[in-house]
Symmetry: C2
Amino acid sequence: MPRPFSLSNPLTISAVLFPNFELLDVYGPLEMFGVLKDRVSITIIAEFSGEIASSCGPRGVADLKIADAPAADILLVPGGIGTRIEVENTSFLNALRIQAEKAGIVASVCTGSALLAKAGFLDGKRATSNKIAIDWVMAQGPRVHWVREARWVEDENLFTSSGVSAGMDMSLGIIEVLFGLDVSLEIARFAEYTWHRDKSVDPFANLQAPDLAN
Amino acid sequence: MPRPFSLSNPLTISAVLFPNFELLDVYGPLEMFGVLKDRVSITIIAEFSGEIASSCGPRGVADLKIADAPAADILLVPGGIGTRIEVENTSFLNALRIQAEKAGIVASVCTGSALLAKAGFLDGKRATSNKIAIDWVMAQGPRVHWVREARWVEDENLFTSSGVSAGMDMSLGIIEVLFGLDVSLEIARFAEYTWHRDKSVDPFANLQAPDLAN
């Protein structure tokens, strides 16, 4: 369970974009939160405001620069092949760490946890990441207690999920913590989504890596 | 199986945006296709080029006006609350119908099938939609053979899915038809997505509607 904190009404969610982010890492969780309609307010933030291309082309739009954004109830950090560049982007990582430290809940999807790890935010905490790239992710945070098998991991106010689709399951898990199980089930029903609810069951751990780059 | 047609290399995908589109209807399918990397080329099209807000706020960016866009191998039509306005937008529907008639495969998610129905493209064809709004969708196309229970429906080169998340399952189904089962399984594995592969099994048909607008 997260440490106690007070939520805004509406709940504020800041989702971080960077060049070559993974589409579903961002928009899967935002779909689940977005069904809450007037109960949430979503802001897209990035190192620079404006349009940002995902790894497969389609662009999102950042409303605010990450350095200018106010504290959020939930900070969402996606993964994607662009993380390989961003782990070397010191000014971005510094701003990310400041955002994470002032957020109510910090939630990462896939290799988003590599960014938080390299920013130093995960030191001493339990976290996971996607299963194809986990060795690379672990190398970004040698003082993190990495969990190799979990759909998602909760450590106080930190939620980290496995690869891509796991972000939707984690988001419904966060909604359960904040609003109760009935609300999560209602959202899953609206989105016709079969929620993988048990965070400890990981169908994708310990499989052979497919022939696809992350 | 789709009627015979020749595919481009790379496969061209045009995804249609309109104001108040549903995020996951668009980006779930594009995630699955996007994992094919250099084998696909994704273009976002809309009535007007530029930024377009989804129903929960985050904006996408249209590369081209729908009336100017070349024929696509796959035309993807999402749903969302914005369909309630667009079914009255004759110039948009005319352009959508022209795009659909020249596409190799036409694929809709959720209430996207209401747009195709109102445009007259579904007359005499089998199609489905999401389960919460299906009575409204059916009213948009009285000459369509609507299927009330299916994860997705295939009728020659037309693929229509149930609500929101079903678009990801349908997309993996289209990829299976075009590239083979192994490729679909590889993509699902990469995205850590538990593919609902049987299009006839619909866990969300015949349930009571939740207390959420579509």
